[in-house]
Amino acid sequence: MARFLRNLFYRVSLGNPAYRFLFQPGPPDEVVVIDCETTGLNPRRDEMIAVAAIKVQGRRILTSDAFRVVIRADKPPTAESIKVHHLRAQEVALGKQMHKVLPELLHFIGGRPIVGYYVDFDVAMLDKYVLPYIQAKLPNPRIDVSAIYYALKYRNAPPGTVHDLRFASMLSDLGLPALHQHDAFNDALMTAMMYVQLRDMQERGVQIGRLRNVQQHIPVSA
């Protein structure tokens, strides 16, 4: 309800009417999977340094038509984030500036629901740039793969069950291959693979067994 009211507000206050399409429903049965690489985990302070978006049409992941870009941030990446993303200041400097990326990205996303792993973080990160640009936050519905996974695996779990929603754990639990992580495109692709599989399991009403062995040695951050 709150989001509905907020979206209503933004629709009215939308600065740039050219972006009204964000408020229309996207093509049926399509979502867009998004992953952002950032200089840190605080959307207020940190900057986005790379973003990848992949459309999913029904059960087909449209990797041939992916959106992937390195962003030239105002603030140089910290040593810590370089370690995680392997994007050096030099490469970031070669990237595009945000005001050039945003129009393309917003058109790419359109009215489609946004899918992600802890999607609220990615959307908050995007909103940081979108809000000043169109005077509205992204109104798109959000789908969090970890939430679907949680529902299929831990709903009705006895108290005391250890909840493991780490990216690598979910990946291996679903039998998906681990691609090199912390590359926005790879992360988005792995998220998309999880999404198509989880959504199908949800449709079929399949639960994920809690007794499966999960490899737990890979620490993961968003």
């Binding site: 059960r59 087909r60 693979m193």
Partner: protein, 604 residues
């Protein structure tokens, strides 16, 4: 796209820009359990490469094969417009999707890549055999000098005369000698001697010191062959001194290198011919076996390897027969090679099927001695004993033609699988020594005995049902679900035997004289018993099995596990190899069906 394995055949054949083009066009498809991804007889817009999950290949509801990660399907549906089978996801499955138009473009531009998509097993296999050839030369260059066969080191004192040197060379059958002059060591070659005598007109008693040279170009036995080639080229030498642990151990000549590239099969017949004793024969007998591995390593096609090996083995047995057989047996006997040896399809030695037919009575003690000596000699050469005891030492396999024909009759009427197997082995016989007319007589009788006897022929054909052709990968699903093992295919039972035996039965029925399977198929095609295209497919499939079998035989020998010689472990071969094996097994199933209908085996 990251995550697409470009080293997975056939994609490893693509050039970098082709690969980039492919990768940028990939989508990923998801299929739920039970979903039919590609339907039999339908076209497919995409070639699927499995990322995760498993896909069953079904043909009219029976399971043929299970595909897993890195396997691709179905080239026939994409390239030829009609899938051979149904492809059904058995678990949550993700696949890379390669668009049809892109794939066809790559196939047009890149012939090496295209080979994977040929519809005919025969063309596909030929293309793969060629691809292996390049590796052959490479592997020779990377082998060590000590593995090459080079001339021995013979030393002579510097005081010795030119004439003595010439005689020493002749006696040792070599063209160069090391010359010891106090501390120094030099080399003298046959060419040095000729030049000294002919051009410089030196006397024959000139000491060698005058004609030899001391700037010896040497190479270490542990160096690579390509080092030797480089050194020969740089120094413009046709011969290098070979050193091991500081001492000269021989000479490596350019002709020795040639032998490495071509194998030295051309030298073996001479050595067999020259052998004067059993001991002399033992060395070439061992070399025949070593030869198989070398020829195969150099990328020679398996049917040629088998041809060369059979020829050498036949020469060896012929020579052995001449050496061992008493005059009475040489006069009246005919030595047979049977089974795979008879068909000329044996590569690595797995058994020995041999026999003796006698045109007239011979003294009992001659026969007894020959039986024991012949089999004993073969065993000492490293021929494994025959599990079915089809050897001359077994009286059943060394008797007179007349009694052997009676034996054939009783086998035919006995309806016993072992007896049928004996007939099968005999029908592949060739004569390697002695009077071939004895064999011809026995074979004519066999054909006569079976002429028009459809029930007997069917009985004989029914051996083909002994082993069923497996559906690749099916076992693994069951086994994996209980957590044990991976699946293996027994190439002999699943592939070779059904083809060989089916063709053999048809050959007997049609009185075809050839003994090799390929030769029989050629005759059957000529008689229109087999369709020419199908005949080609059968020959190709047989070669696929022979090729895979040879590989696993060599591996089994290296691992010291000879009992595994016919097994292929599916997880140890590439996706492209699995694909070929799958095609070959499909041909076998078609052929079984043909035999079943032809002999009305359903009636049994």
């Amino acid at each position: 796209m990251q995550g697409f394995d470009a080293t997975n055949p056939p994609f490893d054949r693509l050039l970098q820009h082709e690969l980039d083009e492919l990768i940028s066009s990939l989508d990923v498809g998801y299929y739920r359990p039970g979903e039919v991804i590609v339907q039999q007889a339908h076209a497919s817009e995409n070639l699927h490469v499995v990322i995760k999950g498993s896909v069953e290949v079904r043909e009219s509801s029976s399971l043929r094969l299970v595909l897993g990660p890195k396997d691709s399907f179905d080239s026939r549906a994409v390239v030829h417009g009609a899938a051979g089978e149904d492809f059904v996801a058995t678990e949550e499955t993700l696949c890379h999707l390669i668009p049809r138009d892109l794939l066809l473009g790559l196939i047009r531009r890149n012939p090496a890549f295209a080979a994977f998509f040929y519809a005919d097993v025969s063309r596909k296999l030929a293309a793969f055999a060629e691809a292996r050839q390049a590796e052959g030369v490479e592997s020779v260059l990377r082998s060590r000098i000590r593995d090459a066969r080079f001339g021995a080191a013979v030393f002579i004192e510097a005081n010795a005369t030119i004439e003595q040197a010439g005689r020493t060379m002749r006696d040792n059958n070599i063209n160069a000698l090391y010359v010891r002059d106090g501390e120094r060591i030099g080399v003298v070659t046959g060419m040095n001697l000729s030049k000294a005598v002919v051009l410089r007109r030196l006397a024959l008693d000139t000491p060698l010191r005058e004609v030899c040279h001391f700037d010896v170009v040497a190479i270490d036995a542990d160096d690579f062959i390509f080092d030797a080639l480089l050194l020969m080229t740089k120094q413009d030498k046709r011969r290098l001194a070979v050193r091991r642990d500081g001492a000269f151990v021989g000479f490596l000549e350019d002709i020795d290198l040639l032998g490495l590239f071509a194998g030295n099969s051309q030298l073996i017949p001479g050595r067999i011919e020259r052998a004067r004793s059993l001991d002399d024969l033992a060395a070439p007998a061992r070399d025949i076996q070593a030869q198989v591995e070398r020829l195969h390593g150099q990328g020679l096609k398996v049917d040629l390897v088998a041809d060369i090996t059979s020829d050498l083995n036949r020469r060896l047995l012929h020579k052995l027969f001449d050496m061992i057989a008493p005059p009475s047996i040489r006069q009246h006997g005919c030595l047979l090679l049977m089974g795979s040896e008879g068909r000329g399809e044996q590569t690595a030695r797995t058994d020995q099927d041999n026999g003796l037919l006698l045109g007239a009575d011979v003294p009992a003690e001659d026969l007894a001695a020959f039986r024991a000596d012949f089999s004993g000699a073969l065993e000492s050469f490293g021929f494994p004993p025959c599990p079915g005891n089809v050897v001359v030492s077994n009286p059943v396999w060394s008797q007179s033609v007349a009694s052997f024909i009676r034996q054939l009759k009783s086998w035919l009427l006995s309806r016993d699988p072992d007896a049928a197997m004996n007939i099968a082995i005999f029908s592949d016989a060739v004569a390697v020594a002695g009077d071939p007319e004895h064999l011809a007589r026995a074979k004519r009788s066999l054909v006569e005995l079976l002429r028009g006897e459809n029930a007997l022929l069917a009985q004989f054909a029914r051996l083909i049902e002994t082993f069923s052709t497996p559906n690749l990968g099916v076992l693994s699903v069951i086994m994996a679900s209980v957590g044990v093992g991976v699946d293996e295919v027994d190439l002999k039972k699943a592939g070779t035997f059904p083809i060989v035996h089916g063709v053999r039965t048809l050959a007997i029925e049609k009185a075809v004289l050839a003994s090799s399977t390929a030769g029989r198929i050629a005759s059957l095609v000529e008689m229109r018993t087999l369709d020419s295209r199908f005949g080609l497919e059968l020959v190709s499939a047989l070669r696929v099995f022979m090729e895979f079998r040879l590989r696993s035989q060599l591996r089994a020998i290296h691992r010291g596990r000879p009992e595994q010689e016919a097994l292929v472990r599916l997880d140890e071969i590439t996706a492209a190899d699995r694909d070929i094996l799958r095609d070959a097994l499909r041909v076998v199933r078609q052929f079984r069906e043909f035999i079943r209908v032809h002999y009305n085996l359903a009636a049994f």
